[in-house]
């Protein structure tokens, strides 16, 4: 064939199309953002664990010190022990609850579903505080309801308290995952089993359990990660029983030993990352198990089973309500347990350390910013990764990076952000590269960023799922008609995905309000936060005001959640009219 340089030349000019390049640049930015605020800080943290305090390379000597100091290394076994028991308890209870919700005809399902989600609105510190009021020295149960009945003395501080608080904390997650798994089944399997004359017992072991295999494994690992990395519960009821998350805090805040903090963080990171990887593999299989042609299973009434389910769920729901009710009661009581008259004394934070009521407003502000920036970033990146064409490799890398934050404990994010944002400049091969993010240190910016990253993955996956439900050809159709991508994004993609974006925003808000672990390293004295105030007041022994502040956090979250309900209903009614037939 003859070569035709003229056509080649004009071709390269023609393909230089502004829009395509804007998309490319944005996709690269989305990748760069994950590298900058996830990969790089964590890498720096890991690197620090191999350095001396003076910044010399120390090899594994920090780790040797760690494992040779029983006071430190015992935390690892402690953490594994409480997490394993929490996981076992939470998965068992969660399975029973989810089974009752999805496979029986008991009444009040909506109510139970709502109650079981309550712990998601609370800082885990509150679980600890409520336990103190129930099982502490002057606790409701240990003293037998203020001496009315014989008390049951319990050794609260230590593994018992931590496990109890963490089961409560991980329970909603277990119920959520297992409900999805139990719902994703094909009714025809059960019909086949029944028609073949299998007993309910046999059906349970040959169809029900294998069907939710991956959901169960996933629950195991999610609960494990949550318990393993939880800071709130052991902070309040851990007592002398050290776990990794509190160790990091003690090393960094108590002893200003940042290097050992980095070492403990790395130790914390290993099981977490392993669990995370296994969980991802399982989830991928779970979703491929169900085809579009499956028939959903509708439970049939069964007297005995439904009564059992109702009894169990009522007991759990009452337990949860009583649990937080006790904390609410305690925050309103004048002097527990001596003067039980009610009042709002503990809600007057002016005499307390920790920033007072202003900290609550700071928290609300931070959560609002986190919700806005987080929704923007997660939805934007998910769109670029899911819907743009070309640069496959880069988009795949971005996708993988977007999953990483789920494997990062809040303490690790917090500590790595201290290192990352506090560094004035990096020296590389003799060059000094000034850190452009240094100015964020100690500001609202770093708090918001840490939240955006901390809760990134779940939101990102929500956005991805929503986007995947859109026809692949929307972008192609627009392109063929010469409509720029941003126009289709604004007119079709965002409106159709509005419910998902609202869900992401509320997820960000609620979690940012309740979180302690990342922000406790990053807040500055002139920008106190409510959840941190809870930790600090509890530290100072002011348990009642701590309970009061935690209650305010729960209150704000429930309020915002209700607001979300209304907004969502309005959105469904107006902008989603097309979805109704």
């Amino acid at each position: 064939m003859l070569s035709r340089p003229s056509s080649l030349e004009s071709a390269s000019v023609r393909t230089l199309d502004v829009e395509a390049w804007v998309l490319r640049a944005l996709t690269m930015l989305a990748c760069l953002w994950m590298v900058c605020f996830v990969l790089f800080p964590v890498a720096q943290l890991l690197w620090k664990s191999f350095l001396t305090a003076e910044g010399e390379f120390a090899g594994l000597s920090n780790y040797l010190v760690y494992f040779r100091t029983p006071a430190l290394s015992s935390s690892l076994t402690n953490s594994l022990y409480v997490s394993a028991l929490t996981t076992a308890g939470s998965t068992t209870l969660g399975f029973m609850f989810a089974y009752a919700l999805t496979r029986t005809c008991m009444p009040l399902k909506g109510f139970f579903q709502g109650v079981v989600m309550t712990p998601l609105f609370a800082p885990t510190l509150l679980n600890g505080i409520a336990l103190v009021y129930l099982f502490g020295k002057k606790g409701l149960i240990s003293q037998g309801f203020f001496g009315h009945i014989p008390g049951i003395p319990v050794e609260l501080y230590g593994p018992f308290g931590i496990i109890f608080a963490q089961i409560l904390y991980t329970f909603p997650q277990a119920v959520l995952i297992l409900s999805v798994a139990l719902r994703m089944t094909d009714a025809r399997l059960y019909e086949a089993s029944e028609s073949l004359g299998a007993s309910p017992f046999r059906t349970f072991f040959t169809i029900t359990l294998p069907g939710i295999k991956f959901g169960l494994i996933s629950t195991f690992f999610v609960c494990f990660i949550l318990a393993f990395t939880d800071f709130g519960a052991p902070k309040v009821v851990g007592g002398q029983y050290n776990v990794l998350a509190t160790d990091i805090y003690k090393q960094v805040i108590g002893q200003q030993n940042f290097i050992m903090g980095a070492v403990v963080s790395s130790v914390l990171l290993v099981p977490t990352v392993v669990s995370f990887v296994v969980d991802r593999i399982c989830q991928r299989r779970q979703f491929s198990a169900l085809t579009a042609r499956s028939v959903p299973l509708v439970p049939r009434p069964s007297g005995m089973r439904d009564i059992l389910a109702l009894t169990f769920c009522s007991a759990v729901a009452l337990g949860i309500l009583g649990f937080y009710g006790t904390a609410l009661f305690a925050s309103l009581v004048k002097v527990w347990p001596y003067n039980l008259s009610l009042g709002l004394d503990h809600y007057n934070f002016s005499k307390m350390g920790g920033g007072g009521i202003g900290s609550l407003f700071n928290s609300i502000r931070m959560s609002l910013y986190s919700a806005i920036l987080g929704t923007f970033m997660t939805f934007g990146s998910a769109y670029l990764i899911e819907k743009s064409r070309g640069m496959r490799a880069l988009r795949q890398v971005s996708y993988m990076l977007s999953l990483v934050p789920l494997a990062l404990p809040g303490m690790v994010i917090g500590l790595s952000y201290i290192f990352f944002f506090n560094t004035p400049s990096w020296s590389l091969l003799g060059w000094d590269i000034p850190n452009p993010f240094n100015v964020l240190y100690g500001t609202m910016g770093i708090l918001v960023l840490s939240n955006v990253v901390h809760f990134y993955t779940v939101s990102f996956l929500t956005a991805t799922t929503a986007l995947k439900q859109l026809d692949r050809e929307f972008e192609t159709v627009s392109e063929s008609m010469g409509v720029p991508f941003y126009r289709t994004f604004a007119r079709v993609t965002v409106p159709v995905c509005l419910p998902a974006t609202l869900e992401i925003a509320i997820y960000y808000f609620v979690n940012s309000m309740a979180t302690v672990s990342a922000v406790i390293f990053l807040y500055s004295a002139d920008l106190p936060l409510a959840s941190v105030a809870v930790a600090n007041m509890d530290d100072a022994g002011d348990i009642a005001p701590a309970a009061a502040m935690a209650m305010l956090i729960v209150g704000v979250n429930i309020l915002v959640r209700c607001l979300y309900g209304f907004v969502n209903r309005w959105v469904q009614g107006t902008t989603q009219a097309w979805a109704r037939r």
Binding site: T15, D471, V477, S480, M481, G482, V483, R491, V492, A579
Partner: protein, 368 residues
């Protein structure tokens, strides 16, 4: 019938030359060329995975081929992105925007082309009338039936007056009855607007019913191009013959003399000359509906005896499965479509021994 008055003389409007595309080691397109006249309806027909959608996407500019050129209206467009090629596309899934009304969907591509508000409204109304959806302009896609959605997708694609309309299996998501009706509607719309149209389908009936010309593809290659009549009655190869409609093959025949073939005790005469050398093996082929059942006394040139093995009732006719008696021991299976009326009249039943004729002008010959 009157020919629609055309202002254009037939001329090559779209030309595709030597397109090739690989996905890893898989050759999706292997040097495909085609031409289309202005206003022509060309159907690309082939089994799934034959490369037909890849070809359509390459013509549209959605995917870049590895080699080859595309010319449209005299100019090369090989390197132009999709929106500079002025093509309208209808996808299998329609890809209608769910949150926009029918009218908003149709006007989607108009607004960016500098149409004024009044003109957009006018054009949308014109198109709604054209596809028979007057008064449905404010409905969302989910409120429309599958056939109506399809029409909205079609209206949206032709709204900006594209040079070429590309249809990617546009009717395959519909149920049989709606599909048959829309087939005619799309075709008459295409003829009225004189739209140069390229359609991809795996449904041979659809291709025969709608197209001016059909291009049969398999494994990334063009096997045959021709009018529906040519494709059906003069398939270029046994593959094309068997892919479109049903076809009986009489294999292992040997050419005895010009236009005379032998298999076992059978001697078959054909009308048309063929390139098979004498003494060489050949494959003879005939469509089931071309086989004739003979009554006593008739003596056509290819009179054969067969035993009916099975009758399959199909309403208007029967599919008669039978075994040709080649000689004492050997038989060969063959199928004929016979009207129900004739089956009743001749009292054909299973195990009946009947005489059939393979008309000399309907027998096809392929080199083995």
């Amino acid at each position: 019938m009157m020919e629609p008055a055309s202002s254009y003389a037939p001329e090559t409007y779209l030309r595709v030359q030597n397109l090739s595309k690989r996905f890893g080691r898989f050759k999706a397109l292997d040097g495909v060329s085609l031409t289309m006249n202005r206003g022509e309806f060309l159907c690309i027909l082939g089994p799934s995975g034959c490369g037909k959608t890849t070809l359509l996407r390459a013509v549209a500019g959605l995917d870049r081929p590895d080699g080859g050129e595309v010319f449209l209206d005299g100019g090369e467009v090989s390197h132009l992105p999709v929106y500079r090629r002025n093509v309208g596309i209808v996808f299998q899934s329609y890809a209608l925007f769910p949150n926009l009304t029918a009218a908003q969907n149709i006007s989607y591509g108009l607004q960016t082309r500098g149409y004024g508000k009044a003109r957009v409204k006018e054009r949308v109304e014109e198109l709604l009338a054209l596809v028979g959806l007057e008064g449905q302009d404010r409905k969302f896609p989910s409120q429309l039936s599958g056939g109506q959605q399809q029409r909205v997708a079609l209206a949206r694609a032709i709204a900006p007056s594209p040079a070429v309309l590309l249809l990617d299996e546009p009717l395959s998501a519909l149920d049989a009855q709606v599909r048959a009706r829309l087939r005619m509607e799309v075709r008459s719309l295409q003829q009225r607007l004189e739209l140069t149209t390229l359609m991809v389908t795996h449904d041979q009936e659809e291709a025969l019913a709608m197209a001016d010309r059909i291009l049969v593809m398999d494994r990334g290659c063009v096997l045959q191009t021709g009018s529906p009549d040519e494709i059906y009655n003069r398939p270029a190869s046994p593959f094309v013959a068997s892919f479109i409609g049903s076809m009986n093959f009489i294999r292992d025949a040997v050419k005895e003399a010009p236009r005379v073939f032998r298999k076992g005790g059978l001697r078959l005469v054909v009308d048309e000359s063929d390139p098979v050398p004498e003494g060489a093996p050949a494959i003879l082929a005939i469509r089931p509906e071309d086989i004739l059942i003979c009554q006593n006394g008739e003596a056509p040139r290819n009179l054969l005896t067969a035993e009916v093995s099975r009758l399959e009732y199909r309403g208007a006719n029967y599919r008669v499965e039978m075994n040709l008696l080649l000689d004492e021991a050997e038989t060969s299976a063959i199928e004929a479509d016979v009207t129900a009326e004739r089956v009743r009249k001749l009292r054909i039943r299973e195990k009946s021994r009947i005489h059939i004729d393979l008309p000399t002008d309907r027998l096809l010959v392929y080199a083995a």
